[in-house]
């Protein structure tokens, strides 16, 4: 077999898993290099892939397709390996073996999921993603991240259960497990499973709950994979489903509004993941070549600038130890480079011309404009306003400018700058040369980003959002506090539910246990010497009526005193024989 044939018969995820297996045995310095090497090799591997390649496997009477290449999966494949590379560069300084292994496992599983040709393989990679990402939430190792990680895992296990139930039902109904466009009753369970990972409200609260709790490097990886794999699965399984169009448009505004309310910088960005995924979900719901191209293009560029935003805000957290806007301010003097790198992400996500968001988000908005519902188009425009307001204006203004809090700043590792620089460059190159991205989209592209109409629309929206912010900036100063969201529904009643379902049964069980022990103890004491036991009880009863002091004294039981001689046992045995002999005699007569 030639190398190209081998590459086209095995999933590129394997190289990440091999890296994860190898990493524990490597010295600390070699681990970061291995991480980067693995992502480079996976990119080269994907370059060799040819559309239409597939590998079959028989397992438990199922005809699985663990590996399948088509235009949709190959685009996501490139994307995930590029992000793994940039993330690896950013996390070069990292010494935590566990975090590096988890990130490799997570990236590998995401890659495996987009090349999975059947639902069973998809489910397996889906759950491996959960293991990797769950560890990354826990990696900060403080009580708060521990609790958030547990909630994250529980929510995703529930989502995974819906997915598995849907897959099994689908298999029973259709007899096929191939991952193609899905419909019918079982598909709704699968849809719920996908919706949890895509963070579609009201199933989204895990995202702003968990991502800000992760480590600086962990949240960079987290922001890239889970939701985008879900976007891929929605695009493959549910393209053109109308409910997704509405859910996506509402989601885009919901995320943007909640981001504006937040005080924690990484929470603001987490809500913007929801908002941006809303654009993608709406595009998938709209369906058609243009909209799906838009969803994939946006997923691609979004991973880039969202990763850049998490990297630069992570750098602020790394350098200052603070992540609340109300505790930050005046950082421009000490962190100007980080500010400019952040702003590349900020203007990209806001859709400024010459940056990545303009050529991808524009495509989704254009698809909505020419789609069936103007309301969806308006909602997406409002979401764009919210995005620029909080990510492009509020966050950078209050963190790098605003009131100078005289914060002491630690210098950043070089790798962090390298990771941020690489992605900034990509955001700019893609913005200026849209064809670099359009060439890897699943459908032929018939869309011009740089038209007078699109530029006018963007400049109008951004100018007036900026003007309103400028007027209102003193009235929207960040304040400490959190904003309630749907996670209230399971976080607030949790202590009560815990009491009913865990504490109360545990206490009933423990009382029964104690009662059983007492009973067994009594039976054992009685059985050890029944006569002694009776004598003791008799003394207790007589002591109640006797007035002498001696009777009231506690009785010290001496078992030897009541132990019968051996002769007594022999006598009883002989007596038994006599009785048996008499019975036998009577019976014979």
């Amino acid at each position: 077999m030639t190398p190209v044939e081998i590459a086209n018969s095995l999933p590129p995820a394997l190289i990440f898993f091999a890296g994860a297996l190898l990493l524990p045995f490597l010295p600390s310095k070699a681990r970061s290099i291995t991480f980067i090497a693995v992502s480079v090799l996976s990119f080269l591997w994907i370059l060799l892939l040819e559309e239409g390649s597939a590998t079959g496997l028989s397992f438990l009477n199922l005809e699985l397709i663990p590996f399948r290449v088509d235009s949709l999966s190959i685009g996501f494949g490139y994307l995930f390996s590029v992000v793994a590379f940039a993330g690896g560069l950013y996390a070069c300084h990292l010494k935590s073996k566990g975090e590096q292994i988890a990130a490799l496992l997570y990236a590998g599983a995401a890659l495996g999921a987009v090349f999975a040709g059947d639902l069973f393989t998809l489910f397996v990679f889906w759950e491996i993603m959960l293991i990797g990402s769950g560890y990354l939430v826990w990696a900060r190792k403080n009580p708060s991240s521990g609790r958030a990680g547990m909630r994250y895992i529980l929510v995703h296990l529930a989502g995974g259960s819906f997915l598995l139930a849907g897959i099994l039902w689908h298999l029973a109904e259709t007899g096929s497990i191939e991952f193609v466009h899905l419909d019918g009753a079982p598909s709704y369970l699968v849809l719920i499973g996908f919706a949890v990972n895509a963070a579609i409200p009201p199933l989204h609260a895990w995202l702003p709950d968990a991502y800000p709790e992760s480590t600086v490097t962990g949240s960079v990886f987290l922001s890239a994979f889970t939701t985008k794999v879900a976007v891929y699965t929605l695009a493959r399984g549910f393209e053109g489903l109308e409910v997704l169009m509405w859910a996506g448009a509402i989601m885009a505004v919901y995320g943007a509004v909640f981001a504006f309310l937040e005080n924690d910088i990484r929470k603001i960005l987490s809500y913007h993941i929801i908002s941006q995924v809303g654009f993608m979900v709406a595009a998938i719901g709209l369906g058609g070549q243009l909209a799906v191209n838009g969803a994939v293009a946006l997923a691609f560029t979004n991973i880039l600038y969202k990763t850049l935003l998490f990297m630069s805000t992570g750098a602020v957290l790394y350098a200052t130890g603070r992540s609340k806007l109300s505790d930050l301010g005046g950082l421009y003097k000490s962190m100007p480079k980080t500010f400019w790198l952040y702003m590349v992400g900020g203007v990209s996500i806001s859709g400024f011309p010459l940056f990545a968001g303009f050529i991808s988000k524009g495509m989704v908005i254009y698809a909505a404009e020419t789609g069936p519902a103007s309301t969806v188009f308006i909602l997406l425009l409002v979401a764009s306003v919210g995005t620029f307001l909080s990510v492009g204006l509020k966050l950078p203004y209050f963190a790098w400018f605003g009131k100078d809090r005289g914060l002491k700043v630690e210098s950043l590792p070089r790798g962090m700058y390298a990771g941020m620089g690489l992605i900034s460059l990509l955001c700019f190159v893609i913005g200026v040369f849209p064809a670099t991205l359009y060439n890897i989209l699943p459908n032929p592209v018939d869309y011009q980003a740089y038209t007078v109409g699109h530029l006018w629309e963007t400049v109008s929206i951004l100018t007036f959002t900026g003007l309103v912010f400028w007027i209102m900036k003193d009235k929207i100063k960040p304040k400490p506090g959190i904003t309630l969201d749907f996670d209230w529904l399971y976080r607030k009643p949790a202590p009560f539910v815990y009491k009913i379902f865990v504490d109360t049964p545990a206490s009933i069980f423990s009382q029964f246990e104690q009662a059983s022990y007492a009973l067994v103890k009594g039976v054992v004491r009685f059985g050890a010497n029944p006569i002694g036991w009776f004598i003791q009880r008799g003394r207790q009863i007589s002591g109640m009526f006797s007035k002498t002091e001696a009777a009231k004294e506690p009785y010290e039981f001496n078992p030897d005193r009541y132990r019968h001689p051996l002769g007594f046992m022999v006598l009883m045995l002989m007596l038994g024989f006599v009785v048996l002999a008499i019975i036998g005699l009577v019976h014979t007569l």
């Binding site: 919210g386 007036f464 904003t483 309630l484």
Partner: protein
């Protein structure tokens, strides 16, 4: 404040004028007839989000940082 509001009004006037002269807004729907519609979306949308945050969320959804901390 008056100066700032005046500047917004002036900017809106310029955008409406530009749109009317050069016909920059394209679209087949009714809203495409409104001059400088996207400027209005930016203006109203941004004020709407700030108002929603100030009036609704600050009153109903804001809690202290330790709201969920185990007691």
């Amino acid at each position: 404040m008056k100066v700032k509001l005046g500047m917004i009004a002036a900017a809106l006037f310029i955008f409406i004028l530009l749109d009317l002269i050069f016909g920059l807004t394209h679209g087949d729907d009714w809203w495409a007839e409104i001059p400088a519609i996207f400027a209005l979306v930016g203006l109203v949308g941004c004020m709407g989000i700030i108002a929603a945050g100030k009036l609704v969320a600050d009153k109903w959804l804001k809690r202290s940082e330790d709201y969920y901390d185990p007691s």
